[in-house]
């Protein structure tokens, strides 16, 4: 009987000891965290992503004009109507390029309320 009681006491003491050590460890971790300056590992990554997005928007615009121009040039060559279709399709190509840029930019938008607005960019407020 005495042995069992001793064991329980011992277990309780171990528990207390363990908790004390845990608290100490927590304190030490807190100190170490406080000592080292706050690092932001996302910085280089977000900068790389921003560069990628900028390049993406630029190519979308240029490629739209380019494809329009090539289509117009091809139609002119086939029908002998130079420079009618080249002019028309250059303009249409620019429109397509801008459309692409707008779609790409919309897909890049953060899905959340815009500053000064209570609705996300994809929500309709009517």
């Amino acid at each position: 009987m005495a042995g069992a009681k001793d064991g329980r006491n011992k277990g309780a003491r171990d528990d207390e000891h363990f908790r004390q050590r845990l608290d100490e460890l927590g304190e030490r971790i807190g100190k170490a965290r406080g000592a080292s300056p706050e690092v932001t590992p996302v910085d280089a990554e977000s900068r790389g992503r921003a560069l990628g997005q900028a390049l993406r928007l630029a190519t979308e615009l240029v490629v739209g004009v380019g494809v329009g121009g090539v289509i117009g040039w091809g139609l002119d060559r086939a029908l002998g109507t130079a420079p009618l279709f080249l002019v028309v399709f250059l303009i249409l190509g620019s429109a397509a390029g801008i459309l692409n840029v707008m779609r790409t930019a919309a897909s890049m938008q953060v899905k959340g309320p815009l500053p000064g607005k209570d609705l996300g960019p994809d929500d309709d407020d009517d």
């Binding site: 280089a44 190519t59 490629v63 494809v67 289509i71 397509a96 692409n100």
Partner: protein
């Protein structure tokens, strides 16, 4: 120009800087001609074979035995699988998972080519627009075919924007079609331009280090160390963008909304 003069121009004499475009030169390793076409085995083809072999060996070796608690190599393979599987699931939905093997292969191939290009003295296959355009054109044709296969002639409705007055429709449909046709080009130009611009920059600054010597070469060298890190990030990011845009195009074809 004879070969020696070309070689000298490429590596630069004592006075001129080395040509930064020399690294993109295609060399015939095994000259070959089939049906009147030049089908030589080039350095470009060699690096494609190396990339495909590396990916195959890596995935087979990493998953050999397939333990429940993965080894380090196995978890790399598992992470890349899950990365692409989540990408496909998020962007195309579960119905897109039947195209997962293609997207995974595409991503790993482009990633391996980009990363192999980061090794000194190697050749960057993706810095040639004909390679990236062939990849993008195949994706474009396949996705369009899938669209017509799933929706029949109704896929053409994809080019008709909703809620537009009938007068404006002919103009807007033409613009939508042009916008659709730009996809293979913008996909290929983005990858090719990123890789070529980065590698040209690296070579130019590498030449500065040598030209400025022990005294002034340290500044461009420090820049190059940072820029090499950025280039590795770009190599990964462009492979990722290539794969995710393929997913988005596939989603358009399967579910028909912008």
């Amino acid at each position: 120009m004879d070969a020696q003069a070309a070689e000298e121009a490429a590596h630069g004499g004592a006075t001129s800087l080395p040509n930064p475009m020399h690294q993109f030169e295609i060399k015939r390793l095994i000259p070959l001609e089939l049906f009147g076409f030049d089908t030589s085995f080039t350095n470009s083809a060699l690096f494609m074979v190396i990339a495909a072999t590396l990916i195959t060996l890596f995935t087979i070796y990493a998953m050999w035995g397939g333990k429940l608690v993965p080894t380090r190599l196995q978890s790399v393979a598992e992470i890349s699988y899950e990365f692409i599987a989540n990408m496909v699931r998020d962007n195309v939905g579960t119905s897109g998972m039947q195209y997962f093997p293609f997207i995974f292969t595409l991503f790993m191939f482009v990633l391996a080519l980009n990363m192999l290009g980061m090794m000194p003295y190697s050749f960057t296959v993706t810095s040639h627009i004909i390679v990236t355009f062939a990849l993008a054109a195949f994706i474009f044709l396949a996705v369009t075919a899938i669209g017509f296969w799933k929706h029949g002639i109704g896929f053409l409705k994809f080019f008709v924007p909703a809620g537009v007055p009938a007068v404006m429709l002919p103009l807007l449909v033409v613009i939508e079609v042009i916008s659709y046709l730009t996809r293979p080009l913008s996909l290929s130009v983005r990858l090719f331009a990123n890789m070529m611009a980065g590698h040209t920059m690296l070579k130019v600054f590498g030449a500065f280090v040598v030209a400025l010597g022990l005294l002034g070469g340290w500044a461009p060298l420090a820049f190059m160390v940072g820029f090499t890190g950025l280039e590795i990030l770009v190599a990964f990011l462009q492979a990722y963008v290539f794969a995710i845009l393929t997913c988005i195009y596939l989603n358009d074809a399967l579910h028909m909304h912008h």
